[in-house]
């Protein structure tokens, strides 16, 4: 197969399956966005516990993070989708995927926030206390605005990681982008072209989100915080 005919085959395949590919890409983006948001919510709660919590609560956050980072995401997904029905929790493939990826991402996002908070010099917290600010004010007005800026690159990386990890949902039959690639391969027996197309779409989406993240970083950029603008 020469290069021209290879390209033609790829283009033909894209045209033939374009509606499936678009639908698969939209499902991938939706799972990514929802699981990222769930992860953000979980990481915010874990971060709050770490900032204000007592020893027992802090131990809980550590266990949560260790469990979700120390076990494979695929195993967590299979546990939720196939294991939960035995305890009476039946979830469809989409919901199970969002929950599994979201719970997992919460642990990673909490670590991103921890590093971002650690980047804030302790002097600032001491001065804020000395000026009569209460802990909740320090968290809301001093810590979080800076930590979120520090965390933007890490959170964008996490989003793009989730975009790719969402392909694991294909294992439980969800018709996201990778699963569409499998359909195309089964129908045409052209695995090379099918998964090349799928890989290219993932690549394009990753670039698109990296590009968007640059505008977010610039939007929130202030003098003294340029260090994280690439």
């Amino acid at each position: 197969m020469d290069g021209d005919s290879g390209c033609k085959l790829v283009i033909d395949l894209i045209l033939q399956y374009k509606s499936f590919l678009v639908q698969g890409a939209l499902t991938t983006i939706t799972i990514t966005a929802l699981s990222f948001s769930l992860g953000l919510l979980i990481s915010s709660i874990l971060t709050l516990i770490r900032f204000f919590g007592e020893r027992v609560a802090n131990a809980f956050t550590k266990i949560y993070i260790d469990v979700f980072r120390g076990t494979p995401l695929l195993v967590q997904l299979l546990l939720i989708y196939f294991g939960f029905p035995t305890i009476g929790i039946n979830l469809d493939a989409f919901t199970a995927s969002v929950i599994a990826i979201g719970l997992n991402s919460g642990a990673y996002q909490a670590e991103i926030m921890r590093t971002a908070i650690k980047g804030i010099p302790e002097d600032q917290i001491i001065v804020a206390k000395a000026l009569g600010l209460r802990d909740r004010h320090i968290y809301l007005y001093i810590v979080m605005p800076q930590a979120l800026r520090n965390a933007i690159p890490g959170l964008v990386n996490e989003f793009v990681t989730l975009l790719k990890e969402s392909s694991l949902a294909s294992v439980i039959g969800l018709a996201e982008l990778t699963r569409v690639g499998e359909y195309m391969m089964s129908a045409t027996f052209r695995a090379l072209e099918a998964f090349t197309i799928v890989a290219l779409i993932y690549l394009l989406l990753s670039y698109a989100f990296y590009f968007m993240s640059r505008s977010i970083e610039k939007r929130f950029a202030i003098p003294g915080f340029e260090r994280w603008i690439r």
């Binding site: 010099p121 002097d123 600032q124 001491i126 001065v127 804020a128 206390k129 000395a130 000026l131 009569g132 600010l133 209460r134 004010h137 007005y141 001093i142 605005p145 800076q146 800026r149 202030i222 003098p223 003294g224 915080f225």
Partner: protein
């Protein structure tokens, strides 16, 4: 007779139970300017942080406006701290906020002023020290001296009963130092009660009503500025 603003009685404090400041006692009267001098490691900064209970005293009492703050629960401390304007070393400002926000933030959150009132007062104080043109800049856009002056204004805007200044001229280039020294002299002329920690004997001689000299965590002299005693403190 002038009222006592601050009274320390046999205060010992330090980190992890290890004393840095030992058996320190002194009084600051209304309008009195107390300058604390002493070599590095003598416990001057620890002393200021102990007054604010940012470091817990191991023993002794700190009486501020008649209230023994060493007995107060932690939840009560913010309303006491806001009455002691603190100026940290190297003018620590919040880097994500403009100058005016840095000054207005404690007015809103610690004093409970409305946003409009807080910004009005912040601007008034910045104007008082000719710094209103810097109001909408970020700390990273200021020189070291300007940052330190903003930190002084931020403390003064709280209209505190007592100012606590921790080596406000340290680590500044000569021109920035001059700017800050001028501000210190202006503040001293305002008649505020203050405790100023400094290495600079010239500032101590011009500003102080009383000098506290510290060495190895203990007060070795308390009285009017005396050049030979002050120099002795710095000799090893």
């Amino acid at each position: 007779m002038r009222n006592e603003v601050l009274k320390l009685i046999d205060v010992t404090s330090g980190y992890s139970g290890k004393p840095i400041v030992m058996d320190v006692s002194f009084t600051v009267l209304e309008g009195e300017k107390v300058v604390v001098i002493g070599p590095n490691g003598s416990g001057k900064s620890t002393l200021l942080k102990t007054v604010l209970r940012l470091i817990e005293p191991i023993k002794g009492s700190i009486i501020f406006r008649g209230i023994d703050i060493t007995r107060l629960p932690k939840s009560e401390l913010p309303r006491i701290r806001v009455r002691m304007g603190y100026v940290p070393q190297e003018g620590v400002l919040f880097p994500h906020m403009k100058v005016i926000d840095n000054v207005a933030l404690p007015l809103r959150l610690a004093l409970g002023m409305s946003k409009a009132e807080a910004y009005k007062r912040a601007l008034e104080y910045l104007k008082l020290f000719d710094m209103h043109e810097l109001a909408y800049r970020y700390p990273a856009q200021l020189s070291g001296g300007q940052r330190q002056r903003v930190a002084v204004v931020r403390a003064l805007a709280l209209e505190p009963d007592l100012l606590l200044l921790d080596e406000p001229t340290s680590n500044l280039d000569p021109s920035s130092r001059r700017e800050v020294v001028e501000v210190l002299y202006s503040v001293a002329r305002m008649g505020k009660s203050m405790v100023l920690v400094t290495h600079e004997l010239e500032i101590a001689s011009k500003v102080s009503d009383k000098v506290i000299a510290m060495k190895s965590g203990r007060v070795v002299y308390e009285g009017p500025f005396n050049e030979s005693i002050a120099k002795d403190v710095y000799e090893t």
